[in-house]
Amino acid sequence: MGKQLIIAVSREFGSGGHEIADILAKKFNIPIYDNNLLTEIANSKNLDVDTLEKYDEKPKNIFLSRSVRGYSNSLSEVLAQMQFDYIRELANKGESFVIVGRCAETVLKNHPALVSIFVLADKESKITRVSKHNDISRSEAESLINMQNKKRKTYHNRYCEDKWGDSRNYDVCVNSAKLGIERTADILEEYIKEFAQ
């Protein structure tokens, strides 16, 4: 496609947001970046991806790191900034892509090609999905959902002024449980097509 398009997908754990992002990437025939962003960064800078993965999306340890004149020696913070810079670089180069998480809706906030989406789902639907997908009990699934969502929220809110999941921070907030993953992706596709024209 000719016109640049960036789709930033944030999601609740268990909402199927990642699957929706995958579908959108296929529909628009553009690359998707999620955990593979680290591999991209490691390859471009000739670094060891395993070393980077150790610090990815980890909360900052306040007792083991400090900031001086804007320089932080929290490795998770430095890695987060490296990812934000890389996302900006891709966007500034005019590339089209789908990006999952990584605070992309805030990092690229004023970029004209950006559509930001937040995918949520009903609690029941998330539990069923996570329990089936991971082959675990419902109570285990619920704990996992709570833990993962807390982690995502903490990571996001550390680097962004606007809060994680706050509807004012995204172009579209959608409950994937109402129509299912495929239909939600179809509707988002329509919305994005309209935007891209």
Binding site: K45, L52, L64, S65, R66, Y71, L79
Partner: protein, 451 residues
Amino acid sequence: MVAQILAVTIFVAMFVLIVIDKIERQYITLGCGVITLVVVFGLCMHSVTAITDTLNIHSIFTRTFWYTGGAAEESSSGINWATIIFVAGMMVMVEGMARVGFFRWLCMRIAKLVHYKTMAIFMTFMIMSAVLSMFIDSITVILFLAAVTVELSQLLKFNPVPMILSEIFCANLGGSATMCGDPPNIIIGTSLGYSFADFITNTGLIALVALVAVLVYFYFVFHSELSASNGENVDISSLPDPKEAIKDKKGFAISCIIFATAVVLLITHAMTGLTVAFIGLFIALVTIITAPKHIHEIVSKVDYKTLLFFIGLFVVVGGLEQTGILEIAANFIGKISGGNAMLMVAIIIWLSAFASAFVDNIPFAATMIPIIKALAATEGVSLSTLAWALSMGTDIGGSATPIGASANVVGTSVAAKAGHPIGWGLYCKKVVPATILVLVISTVGIFVRYF
């Protein structure tokens, strides 16, 4: 009693908030400073004198604040305006030097002089880090040195981590050698009335011996790792010319003259009677006057946040001083050392080092100064000996961990941004032995020379 409890509570809250790092540290110290003034001095002590003594503004308008006529500078409590003005002045000078490309030029020039041999760069950069840090704040030194090290490591294909770790350590060590090298020393010097010459002939000598030991230590620790790539297969002609680093030739020459003037003024200030506050202000004015087109650029880059941090910090420590808490702490140290001066010195060095490894060494040094003053008065120990012990303890102890001193944070951050994360394990494994080595040298040096 209530005032004492409140002063301690505010002090502890300040430290906790600094560690948590959620609020910028200058707001923390200023906020705690205001609470100290209003609640401790105003509401609890009803003491206007405590407020005016701590704010200490009147000191700026005395002749001895700017010129001592050869006598030792007067010591005072509360906000140490001499430190603030001196640090601000040096910041202006350093920004002026950075603008014209001085630091990058110096690093590239030295690398070229040693024909881009990895081991030679490693050794010379350690020495350069120590020497520059004697006169310039270690953050700036490491910022430029680490950045050039990363750049050279990419060109010459070596691992920059050993070099950055050694540069950080030597920057902290070099800072301990002079009165203006490290913030704790500036505070110690201006608070207790010691001159540049006092520091260089006391902590400076210890730092020199320690530097030799540290060069040997790091050579053996990193030799095999760095020797593997000694720049043999690199086409030197493809490397950047040091001259390219100079952004403004005229400005560069002026910056070199200003820097040399600052060094001469600092070395001779005990003889000329010019105080560090005067030197700081003079150097800042000359820097600004000689670069009229760049005043905004230079002044806007000055780290005013650190200056505000200092102001708030001095007020909070003033709260502890005015309420007599620090005297109690001094009595406690005196008691556990049983009046043994050598034990007292050992406690101060090693306690300061341990504390500075984990908390910011600036507030720690500021807090310890009234304590060593009280110890000297009550236990009859030489104040200068305690001051050198405090200086070496805080400056060197700060090297031990990635968060102990500002240079460590900046250096490890630059390395991580370039894709070379330095975790606590790696950092401490290489640097803690060096820290212990220098602390032992400092302790033995002080024992041998002063007892």
